[in-house]
């Protein structure tokens, strides 16, 4: 099954064409990475898939369903969730509350004003589980705004997966992290995306080759390669895009 399908997607901001005809298919159950030089349009592509920006032309399908032009919350309700490159949490709420917020809709509570959230067993249990996975149980009451950077990045991922979405988009999850912090996050990502579809934007090639089954390379708004890690590593066009020099010349 195809989790995400982009069909000839274009996106222009004013006169500038950022995404120039991207057609990409992400198979369900795979972990894939989206790499490319700065300014290639990776975050823009994420924003298009998740509904933050409307496409200029082309179509996007999620698990076979048409989601072109739909609002982010509608797309999320269909089972897609994303994290942000710049941490985007609820700063005044506690860690526990942050996670709980992303659980509520998924468990069907919607706009209810007749349930008491503290009494909802399923909500509490799911939130506790994610809290433990993130290793943040000790910080559960701390307002998210005062967490350390790495803790916030972990929470960021936590909010993304707590709702139980089966298609997960992570935008530079390890940016700004030390070696050991990165290792922890990679382990966390591996855990929480088991059996799900993952598409992540990453610059850390170590992480990419560690986690990804397939890699898509985006350069100037076009996908120039979409293949297994070994073949990407050997791909001449990819090397030229990153190093500026085709292999073999002096």
């Amino acid at each position: 099954m195809r989790a995400i399908e982009l069909q000839d997607v274009h996106k222009a901001f004013g006169p500038t064409l950022i995404i120039r005809g991207v057609s990409l298919t992400i198979e369900a159950g795979t972990r894939q990475a989206l790499i490319g030089p700065n300014g290639a349009g990776k975050s823009t592509l994420f924003n298009l898939i998740t509904g933050k920006y409307p496409v200029s032309s082309g179509r996007i399908r999620l698990k076979g369903e048409e989601v072109t032009g739909r609002r982010p919350n509608e797309i999320n309700r269909l089972g897609l969730s994303r994290s942000f490159q710049v941490t985007n949490i609820f700063p005044q709420l506690s860690v526990f509350e942050n996670l709980r917020c992303s659980v509520l809709w998924a468990l069907g509570y919607r706009y209810s004003f007749w349930h008491r959230v503290n009494r909802a067993r399923d909500v509490q249990e799911r939130t506790e589980t994610v809290l433990e996975q993130l290793n943040l149980t000790a910080r559960r009451h701390v307002p998210a705004g005062v967490l350390s950077y790495a803790e916030q990045r972990a929470l960021e991922i936590g909010i993304t997966i707590a709702g139980g979405a089966d298609v997960i988009l992570l935008d530079e999850p390890t940016s700004g992290m030390s070696r050991s912090e990165t290792e922890h996050v990679v382990q966390l990502i591996r855990e929480v995306t088991a059996g799900k579809t993952l598409l992540m934007v990453e610059h850390d090639m170590g992480v990419v080759f560690d986690l990804a089954d397939r890699i898509a390379v985006l350069v100037y708004g076009e996908v120039i390669a979409h293949d297994t890690p070994e073949r990407i590593r050997a791909n001449a066009a990819v090397q030229e895009a990153y190093l500026g020099v085709p292999q073999g010349t002096v």
Binding site: R77, V86, N88, C101, R110, Y111, F113, R116, N118, R140
Partner: protein
């Protein structure tokens, strides 16, 4: 993303509160209810009950306002519209009950007000809540001015310049209860205060109540976890309108008259002031703010004509120096209280209080004398201030009050940082 809020502004996490035991919380509500029952017997001055009635109405109004501001992050300059409309509808309903034999006993009149507030909130909220922030504030201002101006056009509903009057003595009875005396109205208001406060507290513990906080903090992220920020704001807005309408209904029952003033910018400004002074980050904040504001408004207006100036100064001081409000100020001391280190703060706070009073005497004296000179009573030579007769046209009292202000201000400059440091020290985790 916003910067982390200062310690003074952080409310308790929700689950932290619930961990203190559902039984304890329930006991607290029962205790409050009992206190309210006993209060008129404890405070026996004749003006007490009317002021307490006023406070009760203000509490419900302020709590409803905080559903928008503190819980939802929506600053409204027109919330009094729903208060006023609720009041007008309640007054008309009461008149219908008296005249046309519609069965609406006085205790249920606030519900009619609530319904009115709810309906209007649903109508105006449809376009008011599309966006938050400055646009929301401006729309609320526009709607408020619109309604205030419309009141002169629709004079059958709003009663024109004289407003609408009603009479609670003529309504049908429920269980034989009459509401002719102030104390009887007090118990009715107290009942509704407890019921609505409990309801609003419960609302904040529901899924929509929690998500409202999330939308306040980060509407974009809330959208990415499946919620429509617009719908969330709309539900909060309607709920706030409902409770504001109930407050308006209580007003109608208590004062038996409604005018367009009750819907206007002054009333909306007053509820903003009292809620902010009390503290928007805590459930108790608006309650404290309503009590303090009403108290000052009633008491001060007996002693001085410029009480609104003092309230304005208090408000600005809160915004500048204590943005978490009175409730925030109290909660700031929670760690110290838990550690039993509060007694250490008596000394530093006493110093601050002394210098604060000295400065206040100076400032108030200067203001009162200015007021005296500028107002119509300037044919007299002396004014009674702080129990002493002063002559504002002579330089002596001016010099005295300026000296008071200077001494007080300098003293505060010295004492306040010491107090702040003492509080930080007392709050520090670890052994004494």
């Amino acid at each position: 993303m916003s910067t982390p809020t200062p310690a003074a502004a952080r409310p308790l996490a929700v689950d932290q509160v619930s961990r203190s035991g559902g039984l304890r919380v329930f006991g607290l509500w029962v205790g409050v209810a009992l206190l309210l029952v006993v209060l008129p017997f404890v405070i026996r001055t004749p003006v007490a009950v009317p002021i307490m009635n006023q406070m009760g109405i203000a509490i419900v109004f302020a709590l409803s306002y905080n559903m928008l501001l503190g819980q939802g992050g929506m600053l409204s300059f027109g919330h009094a519209v729903y208060f006023g409309v609720g009041g007008f509808i309640a007054a008309h309903a009461l008149n219908l009950a008296a005249g046309r034999g519609v069965y609406l006993p006085v205790p249920l009149v606030p519900l009619a007000g609530g319904l009115g507030g709810l309906v209007f909130a649903m109508i105006f909220g449809a376009f008011s809540t599309i966006r938050s922030g400055t646009v929301f504030a401006m729309i609320s201002l526009g709607v408020g001015e619109l309604m205030a101006a419309s009141s002169l056009i629709f004079d059958r509903f709003f009663g024109g310049e004289e407003g609408i009057t009603t009479n609670r003595a003529k309504a049908p009875l429920l269980f034989g209860l009459t509401f002719t005396k102030d104390r009887e109205v007090y118990y009715l208001i107290a009942f509704w205060v407890v019921v609505t406060a409990a309801a609003m507290y419960a609302f904040s513990r529901t899924p929509i109540g929690r998500i409202a906080n999330a939308v306040r903090d980060n509407p974009e992220r809330a959208e990415f976890v499946g919620y429509s920020p617009r719908w969330v704001r709309y539900v909060s807005f309607c709920a706030a309108g409902l409770f504001a309408g109930i407050a308006g209904g209580l007003f109608a029952v208590n004062y038996e008259i409604l005018t367009a003033e009750n819907m206007g910018l002054n009333a909306s400004g007053a509820v903003l002031l009292m809620t902010y002074i009390g503290g928007i980050g805590y459930f108790l904040g608006p309650i404290m703010g309503a009590v303090v504001f009403t108290f000052l408004q009633s008491m001060l207006s007996d002693y001085t004509g410029i009480w609104l100036l003092y309230l304005g100064i208090l408000f600005l001081a809160t915004v500048l120096f204590v943005p978490a409000g009175l409730a925030g100020l109290l909660m700031l001391h929670a760690p110290a209280w838990r550690a039993g280190r509060l007694p250490r703060l008596i000394g530093p706070y006493l110093l601050v209080a002394v210098f604060g009073v000295v400065a206040a005497v100076g400032v108030v004296g200067a203001f009162e004398m200015t007021h005296f000179l500028a107002s119509a009573e300037s044919t007299r030579a002396t004014k009674r201030l702080f129990g002493v007769a002063v002559a504002p046209r002579t330089p002596a009292p001016w010099l005295a009050f300026i000296a008071f202000t200077a001494v007080g201000a300098l003293g505060l400059r010295w004492a306040a940082p010491r107090a702040t440091a003492a509080v930080a020290e007392a709050n520090r985790p670890g052994p004494s």
